[in-house]
Symmetry: none
Subunit: 204 residues, 4 copies
DNA sequence: GATGAATGAGACTTCATTCAT
DNA sequence: GATGAATGAAGTCTCATTCAT
């Protein structure tokens, strides 16, 4: 076992700080110029570190992207959790959209980045991200949430809801600030039942 | 004077055919490997022409992308036109989504490609695409279409509709074939008025 | 099938010339500074071409080395052939050494280079050179040559001979010109039988 | 004044042990992957010390190589000494080869490494190794040894002997264990006089 | 028009070395 | 003494674009 001067804790903290700086710089640059449009040199400069140091934290430029994408998937998952406490479908939809919008405010760049990659199968494959599986699981959760709140035909309705959330998110991000989010959310919510009916049968 | 050879028309047709082959090759490759992931050499190879010839048809690799994006915007515009003949909001929405899905079937790759670039402002700027303006115009047209069909609060409702169309398109493309498009479209349409009420005031 | 302007033959000749220039530059530089000590930029400069062009002729810097090594193995094989016409062991040895020395005069750098790599198993493995096999075959040929010329115990004697040729080559190259090659060759040859005795048994 | 701590001797011994570990790690790695193919980090890891510590023992990576090469030259010199006690040329040759082979068994990797560098003049120059001079001295010693044992034309014969030793060493190392060293040595020795004749004149 | 050899800037990544702790 | 985070120069290779034929 080898020694460890300079205090191991301080060292770990130092590393964590640097890593975080790289990730934040990466969100900014990747989302603006694209992954390929961002050079490692630019990335290091934005993070205010030497190029070499970047590689002591990540195996490759791609690994930085991969870390970001994982974090983005967590964002989405968290959005869902917030809505789960609402008893009615309308409440569920409202909170879902509201917290999605809040998440976008906080992580707009990250979300833009992840959207940009959604449709590039080759790239996703290289990153080894379980996107397919993640989308499937999300659909499942939405279906169950609606079913529990008495929405019939929950499977199809979940698809409608999923599409709506994605569409609204897209529009919201695209408009960079002047989007009537509250009004749109309300208009969407009005289309979902405000009370929970007795369910006669199970979802499946 | 030389030049102006045997048959000017045949020559022009030939050029057009080559140009078309390049564009088709570009959709395939760009949508799979991304713009940066596709080399001009690969592009020329896929189009079965020499690299040099490609440059006699397009100023640059970027110009090829630009041409594709313009064509994609036309796709979307055409989708709208198809729906315009429907008298009720529900009919409008139904046809809008249906023809969107049809368009996706025909131009899935192109649409994927354009989606991938939607969120990269710097790239879009370089391509000098009037995306902002195009989205604004589309929103206008939707708003007017809904207003004309007696939908109150047409501005907000148009945003809901736009978001829905985008969301459904996204999901549809993502699922590569096993998406219950018809059922989803029906479920969406049910949320829109099937009859046109008298309008009391204009939209604007 | 695509066309081929600028005359296909001229094109091929052009390519061959360039390729040859690269190989010659590579011998010079690799043998002086080592493979790792030679940058691709330096290589291209010495060959008086652009870096990129080098890569249209060879897959990698390593591929250049590989091509050289193959050519070096041919050199050695040719040396053997020259000696095969001698009827006595002494004549065989004399010609073998003489033509080895001649070969070294012509391809000193290449031989130095290949010697430098002989003992780096990892590198050789990467180059996928059949060195092991080549050395085995050479030993076989020497054994048979000696046996045919009536040398008893030809297997061991072939090893002595092989070692001598290698050792003399090494010394010759190391001395850069002031090596009494003729005298050494004569002294070596004196140790081998000048007449061919009747063989009583086969070699093996 | 601080420093000069508890036990200066123990400290020095510790340093020496570390230095030795580095050198051993270096032989292993350099001989397998080459000098350039071995990173300082890998070297430190193999020696189980921190990178920084390595630099407190050696000025540079090159200095490590230099130390190894010097040690390799000592190996060769020692080989010669062992043979010096033999009265006849044949005995001298036999012991020379035998102890060369023994040395190779003990320091195969080191010898391989040094052989790999023999033909790279630029590299040798950087290491400031007196190779030229060392080879000259070795030749001198061989010449004298043969002359003293009554071999005429000792200068040329010494070259033959030197070449033989090098050639056999090369073959021996290349064959990684299945080389009939004893038989080859015997076959070589048979070519040298087993008795010492009166010398009529001096060598030079 | 059509070709592909040629160019050279710039991308990602590695690595010897330094130095604050 | 001992550590390993940090540096940035330099390496290999790719690629959009040009142009002689």
């Amino acid at each position: 076992m080898r020694g460890m001067p300079r205090n191991a804790d301080a060292n770990a903290a130092l590393r964590e700080k640097t890593r975080e700086r790289v990730l934040q710089a990466a969100v900014r640059l990747f989302s603006r110029h694209g992954f390929d449009g961002t050079s490692v040199r630019a990335l290091a400069q934005e993070a205010d570190i030497a190029v070499g140091l970047l590689y002591s934290h990540f195996d490759s430029k791609e690994a930085v992207l991969s870390a970001l994408m994982r974090s983005s998937m967590l964002d989405v998952a968290r959005t869902l959790e917030a809505a789960d406490r609402e008893p009615t479908a309308r409440g569920f939809v409202t909170v879902l959209l509201t917290s999605a919008v809040e998440m976008l405010d906080a992580h707009r760049d990250l979300w833009r980045l992840s959207q940009g990659l959604r449709h590039q199968p080759e790239v996703l494959a290289r990153l080894k991200l379980p996107l397919e599986q993640f989308l499937g699981a999300t659909h499942q959760r939405l279906t169950q949430a609606l079913a529990e709140r008495g929405v019939p035909d929950a499977d199809i309705e979940a698809r409608v809801l999923f599409a709506t959330v994605e569409g609204v998110s897209q529009q919201y991000v695209q408009h960079e600030g002047d989007y009537p989010a509250a009004a749109v959310i309300q208009a969407v919510a009005r289309r979902w039942p405000g009370v929970t009916r007795k369910r006669k049968a199970d979802t499946r």
